[in-house]
């Protein structure tokens, strides 16, 4: 049951082959059985079974959406009313969210069953899930390797069949990189496509939520529910949402694919490169034309990103002060001691690094050299995308330079960890949508293909991924657990 698509499960629920309660119990049992993957921070068994019962009634009455009764899980960055929402941090280990994120509200409204809250890097800062206060989630393909991050628990859970689908968030690659490492499909929508209300902020001009699923078809179904204008998010895009599932079956003949030479050069593992070459030749067979393109400013994406993301996070995370919610230190002697120790004890090392870096970059005398400069570089990078996407329909590239690395391999070298996000970060700066699609294996570990489009072309990206999944079966491979 755990390898079926949403459409197959919805059919099974309607034909009476199984109930949502049975389906939910099946997944809860798998979560218990594979607890060592550490994919979940909180399992909401009681709530899940209640929701499943309600969904069974809705389905029986004939008034149910496609997602009714489908067991999914939420990244622990989305606020869930009455349920611990930790964001992977000691700071919020005691935080019971007093409201639902819009994304959670929408899934509840659709009748989806929430199995629990998924592990992640602390405050979404990390590329390996190792900065989580709750310890790293493990990659189900090789439990000695990382599942990627920050949405590592989401990727591990979907790949291991612990949930039908999951939500993730992506500030610099946090949906796509773990999707690639765990061999699943992940979509970072256009900035503003999915509401950020109730999604705990890291870097507000970059953060975007999206679906993490086995197939592009499932991603289309999830995005249909997640996307749309929300008055509660001041940067939500007030644009109509296309019918994503309906767009999946467009033929690809005449599709123009651009391959930026800057993304296929030095640093790309030869095994990964070989997989991508095969994937691109598959697109040629589907009728696509492939052109080499150049995006000269991509090499500046990592420096610009770390200035902007750290600056925004230092501002966003100033709200954790030990006063109104979250961790408070023992016996503070005065107000400064309360702030300083609560934050010092509540945040982990990577979060502290980024707060310090951001505080420095925004401090008097350095603002122009770092933050303003980074915003100008961001403009140039965004222009690179616009120029490229005027010549071609989509850009294809690697998601990651290598397959999943070992747990502990990069924890002592933060810069090496940052540099591994080379292919994903520029997309967030430009605010364009991008997907990671399972494209094969290198050394037994999954490899992802990145498909990048222009603003609000998620329908086209999902279509391009879906057509590839009609002629390949990489997305159907499952790890031996």
């Amino acid at each position: 049951m755990h390898t079926k698509t949403i459409n197959q499960l919805a059919q099974g629920l309607r034909s009476g082959e199984f109930s949502s309660v049975e389906l939910t119990q099946h997944f809860l049992q798998r979560i218990r059985q594979h607890e060592s993957l550490n994919a979940f921070i909180t399992v909401t068994e009681g709530l899940a079974l209640q929701a499943a019962q309600a969904a069974d009634q809705r389905i029986a009455s004939g008034d149910a959406s496609l997602l009714a009764g489908i067991p999914i899980a939420q990244k622990d960055i989305f606020c869930t009313l009455g349920v611990k929402t930790s964001c992977g941090s000691k700071m919020l280990d005691n935080f019971i969210a007093p409201y639902n994120a819009t994304v959670v509200e929408k899934f509840n409204h659709a009748g989806a069953v929430m199995l629990g809250k998924l592990n992640m890097d602390e405050f979404a800062m990390g590329s390996s899930n190792e900065t989580s206060f709750y310890g790293p989630a493990r990659n189900p393909w090789d439990t000695q390797t990382v599942p990627g991050g920050s949405s590592g628990g989401s990727a591990a859970a979907v790949a291991a069949g612990l949930a039908v689908a999951a939500t993730g968030t992506d500030t610099g690659g946090s949906i796509r990189q773990p999707a690639a490492f765990c061999g699943i499909t992940g979509l970072k929508p256009t900035y503003g496509r999915v509401s950020r209300y109730g999604m705990i902020a890291y870097a507000s001009s970059l953060d975007q939520g999206g679906p993490m699923t086995r197939t592009a078809e499932d991603a289309a179904i999830l995005l249909q529910t997640m996307a749309g204008f929300d008055a509660k998010d001041s940067t939500s895009a007030d644009l109509p949402v296309p019918d994503y599932p309906a767009a999946l079956n467009q033929p690809l003949a005449g599709l123009k694919i651009g391959l930026p030479k800057e993304f296929f050069g030095e640093g790309l593992d030869s095994g990964v490169a070989a997989v991508l070459e095969t994937a691109i030749s598959e697109y040629r067979k589907l009728g696509a034309e492939v052109a080499d393109i150049s995006m000269p400013n991509l090499n500046m994406a990592i420096p610009a990103y770390y200035v902007i993301a750290c600056a925004e996070s230092s501002a966003n995370l100033s709200r954790y002060d030990g006063v109104r919610f979250g961790y408070r230190c023992e016996s503070p002697v005065d107000l400064t001691d309360l702030y300083t120790r609560s934050r010092g004890e509540g945040f982990g090392k990577e979060v502290k690094r980024r707060i310090l870096m951001g505080t420095y970059a925004l401090s008097a005398g350095y603002y122009d050299a770092y933050y303003l400069k980074a915003q100008k570089v961001r403009r140039l990078i965004s222009q690179d995308f616009q120029q490229a996407l005027a010549q071609v329909d989509v850009i294809m590239s690697p998601v990651t330079p290598t397959t999943a690395f070992g747990i502990g391999a990069k924890m002592d070298d933060p810069i090496a960890m940052y540099l591994a996000d080379i292919y994903t970060i520029a997309i967030n700066l430009a605010g364009v949508p991008a997907m990671s699609v399972p494209a094969g294996f290198s050394g037994g570990m999954p490899v992802g293909l990145q498909i990048i489009g222009n603003h609000f072309t998620e329908d086209r990206l999902l279509n391009i991924a879906h057509q590839y999944q009609q002629v390949t079966d990489w997305h159907q491979q499952t790890p031996t657990l």
Partner: protein
């Protein structure tokens, strides 16, 4: 560019962020590495480029000045570290 232990202490104070004494040098090293990475941007000519604060050309939305939220003080204070009579408690500020 490299940061000293003093620099780290100064920044940590600005951020009201407690850092253990034995970790100061390791933060100085990591932050210096990050700054080296960021300094690479200096090599790119950005004269005349308009800074980009936001990925989409959006105008800030305005809404009517009306109350949209119900009073949920009790609900929100249920998760606070220390409250009394509806107030959040902190150590004494004024003697």
């Amino acid at each position: 560019m490299s940061l000293t232990a003093d620099d780290v202490n100064k920044i940590a104070h600005l951020a009201r962020l407690g850092i253990d004494k034995q970790d100061i040098d390791s933060y100085a090293k990591d932050l210096s590495g990050m700054l080296d990475l960021m300094t690479r941007m200096g090599g790119l000519d950005t004269a005349g480029v308009e800074p980009m604060a936001h990925p989409l050309d959006q105008v800030q939305r305005l809404r009517k000045d009306v109350v949209t939220e119900a009073d949920q003080r009790g609900h929100f204070q249920a998760i606070a570290p220390q409250v009394e009579d509806g107030l959040y408690l902190v150590p004494k500020v004024i003697e």
